[in-house]
């Protein structure tokens, strides 16, 4: 029948003609917007700048590369050790304090790296209380005794590790908690002791999560400026600033950043590769509750000690000294506008965190819906912002925003004779956008990983019941990954609260945050006065950090955790 041709047109477009689904278009659009600042940075590579590069190569470039690599290596190894071992201990065993450590191990996350660096320097440096006490007590002078130099590459590795290991811990623990105990038991029946089983199976299965955590840590390490600058360690970031500020060459600085992005691309590739090779989601559908093995005697106390050490060094000790200093100075630091700072910080962090969560959801879902390679690569690219120092991102944001502003201005002044000036740059919009470019990776990774765990059959089941994309997202996916959405939001919240360099450059007039106040005082070497705003950052971060911990302990299928 000739009419049959018309009856089928309602089904689908002709085969072979690629249809751009609305999701695909939306995600591509978002990816492009987020890519603009990164591309702005990368495009600098094409500006010839041979003379400066020769100078850099002859003098300091080797230092930047070696130090950056050593720093990443050191921080990588230590965060892995602390993160994975503590995650394993609190998930598998019961020992004094094990329940408290589940959340306490996340606490160091609330302390910005530069603050812990300032604090430990204040305590451990030559002129700090500890060394003064040693000299006075033993009646000796400097040089008569050995004391580790805190402001060194090793010191920077320690400081960064202490505040960054929670990323590894957080993701690894979530992976352990989700593991089917069966596979660990199989391994036992095949002749592996509990330790070997943990190593060969537990860790192997948690590997994607561990690597995600590790890559976050390494990217943060690469982007860190405050700590390495204060410790006088010449890395890529300090190099970028020197080249820019000292040599007055922002192009070469951008080129250094582009070179640094190359590192990140390698990192991302490794992570992608490891995730791709084999699947890690469990073939098993049964979950037996992990029954924590009680430890007794010395092994119990050893476990307690191992878990207590990072919390003590990464949180309690710095907090103690910050409080000491804050006690001496709060009278002059805390005034009405101090509360304005807290308010500003929280508003910025909340807005960014929520927007990041929503956009990640859209991108991850779009990626799931389309499955196209372009989109997959695009969303990866968006994640790169995490490794770029905030200052570089700020410039990458300023340039396009100013360009848009200029064109709007030209348009209005020629058409209506009105000068619009700057509409976007110099507003909170620019600042929040820069935060998003920088921290999108954290949120996107979390949401994406969670969505991947929702089986495609769920979508199909819902579709078979007549639900559309949006309805499925709202009624199936969002409720299923609620925990991860919360995690994503909280992680970004804490990150924004601590963010400094981009805020410094992009914020509007008369707008300050806790991080800025801390930095300005600490930078003037007024550590004691910086303690109050620093303490406020820590205290404001603790709430989301504790919430985070609660959400992962509940995320386990079939667990009867509290609440």
């Amino acid at each position: 029948m000739p009419s049959s041709a018309t009856t089928v047109t309602g089904y689908s477009a002709p085969a072979g003609f690629p249809v751009l689904k609305p999701w695909t278009v939306l995600v591509l659009f978002l990816v492009m917007i987020f890519a603009v600042p990164l591309i702005t940075v990368i495009s600098s590579v094409f500006v010839p700048n041979a003379e400066i590069w020769r100078h850099l190569r002859e003098t300091v470039l080797a230092d930047y590369i070696t130090n950056s690599l050593l720093l990443m290596f050191g921080v990588g190894v230590i965060t892995l050790l602390i993160g994975v071992i503590t995650a394993w201990l609190v998930t598998m065993f019961r020992f004094p304090g094990s329940r408290q450590f589940e959340w306490a191990l996340l606490l160091p996350m609330s302390i910005p790296a530069y603050i812990i660096a300032y604090t430990y320097t204040g305590v451990l440096d030559v002129g700090g209380p500890l060394q003064i006490w040693i000299r006075e007590y033993f009646g000796i002078g400097y040089g008569d005794y050995w004391f580790p130099e805190i402001r060194s590459l090793g010191g920077a590795v320690c400081m960064l590790s202490l505040v960054l290991y929670p990323y590894v811990y957080l993701l690894t623990r979530a992976a352990f908690v989700e593991q089917s105990v069966c596979v660990l038991e199989v391994s036992r029946t095949l002749g592996c002791g509990p330790l070997r089983s943990f190593y060969r199976i537990g860790i192997a299965l948690a590997r994607p999560a561990i690597i995600v955590g590790l890559s976050l840590v390494l990217m943060e390490t690469l982007a860190d400026y405050g700590t390495v600058q204060y410790f006088g360690v010449a890395t890529f970031t300090t190099g970028i600033f020197r080249t820019w500020f000292g040599l007055g060459d922002s192009v070469a600085a951008a080129q250094l950043s582009a070179l640094m992005m190359f590192f990140v691309i390698i990192l991302l590739y490794l992570e992608y590769h490891s995730r791709h090779r084999s699947r890690f989601h469990h073939t098993s559908t049964r979950y037996r509750n992990i029954r924590k093995l009680p430890l007794t005697g010395s092994s119990a106390w050893l476990a307690t000690f191992v878990c207590a050490l990072p919390v003590l060094l990464g949180f309690i000790v710095p907090l103690f000294f910050l409080m000491q200093w804050a006690r001496q100075t709060w009278g002059i630091v805390i005034s009405e506008d101090f509360f304005q700072l807290i308010y500003n910080s929280m508003v910025l962090a909340s807005i960014t965190a929520v927007v990041a969560m929503i956009l990640s959801m859209v991108m991850a879902y779009g990626k799931r819906q389309s499955g196209s390679r372009t989109i997959r690569l695009g969303t990866r690219f968006v994640g790169m912002g995490y490794a770029i120092p905030g200052t570089v991102i700020a410039v990458g944001v300023l340039l396009p925003f100013a360009w848009v502003d200029r064109h709007i201005d030209v348009f209005f002044s020629t058409r209506f004779g009105i000068n619009t000036g700057l509409l976007l740059s110099g507003t909170l919009v620019a600042l929040v956008f820069a935060y998003l470019v920088r921290f999108m990776a954290v949120s996107l990774n979390t949401v994406d990983a969670a969505l991947m765990k929702v089986k495609p059959s769920m979508d199909e089941a819902a579709r078979s019941m007549g639900m559309k994309d949006l309805a499925i997202l709202k009624r199936i996916h969002i409720p299923m990954i609620r925990g991860s959405l919360l995690t994503a939001t909280l992680l970004v919240f804490v990150d924004v609260l601590k963010e400094l360099p981009a805020t410094l450059i992009l914020r509007p007039f008369n707008y300050n945050t806790l991080a800025i106040r801390t930095y300005e005082l600490a930078n003037e070497e007024r550590l004691a006065e910086a303690a109050c705003p620093a303490l406020a950052i820590v205290l404001v971060s603790i709430i989301p950090v504790v919430l985070l911990s609660r959400s992962i302990s509940r995320s386990r299928p079939g667990s009867h955790a509290l609440g």
Partner: protein, 352 residues
Amino acid sequence: MHSVKVEKVSIGFDGVPVVRDLSIAIDPGEIACLLGPSGTGKTTLLRLIAGFEKPDTGEIWINGVKCSDPAGMLPVEERGIGMVFQDFALFPHLSVEDNILFGLRNKPAAKQRGRLTQLCDLLRIRELLDKFPHQLSGGQQQRVAVARALAPGPRVMLLDEPFSNIDVELREELAEEVRATLKEEGVTAIIVSHNQLESFAVADRIGVIYNGRLLQWDSAFNLYHRPLDRYVADFVGQGVFMPARVVSATSVETELGIISGSGPHNFAEGEAVEVLIRPDDIIHDDDSDMTAVVEHKIFRGAQFLYTLVLKSGQRVLSLVPSHHNHPVNQPIGIRMEIDHLVVFPTGAGRGV
């Protein structure tokens, strides 16, 4: 010496007893099955034997070595057992080959290859070696899981509901295959199952477990025809309990006539009892003058399973070749043909 000996073992979780004072002994090379509905403690018993749980009382011996008692445990990995889990629990990050070789890592490479080849031939999984677990069907996963557990040459294999994740059509075939493999390897095996047909197909001896207790430890034939316990009679196979009165030391009288057993049933003459009537005990016979009305029928291919109502209102089941197709509500002629007299004291009357 028994291959596995469980002596008076009890265990409870959070004060709820799960296994109660249970003893069982399995001979070397024997394939034993623990049968019972879910939640009766079979899997817990298996985990006790494996060493994942510590008994509250009692002892567990494997090959003459005491492995568990309330005071101490031999670690799982030192017991020389192999285990197949209900969901197979293949390591998702390892290829089939690496899964199988997992337990052989301390052996010389040549030994590993040899054992791998042997198992591949035995279980016909050679073409799967390079694949990853998520690429396998249920039946393939199961065979790989069995191969992996067998690889180190365990003296005792423990299989937890190994067929429950398999398509029904495949189950019987796989069950026979697993049995053949286990026999070929000469390994003692304990299989947990809630499916009687499956356990009939695979086991030498079956232990029926209910409520944490071992009710009967016997061959499939005896469980069906000589159940020692009313619950076993009910759980294994189909049938009804029919009221009867004892007329002699070896026989009872029922509505359908006198039934005689081969041995004494140990009830006093005149006592009111109940006898177990299996569907195969009631034969359809158009010539018989004894009739019953068809209440319900299920077509089973070669046979019909009729539910019949006797004059007294008592229901019995009857398996009838399927060319005898009788409509519902019509009376048909029947007669009894009972080889095994199974008598229980009168209890609450239980139907099918």
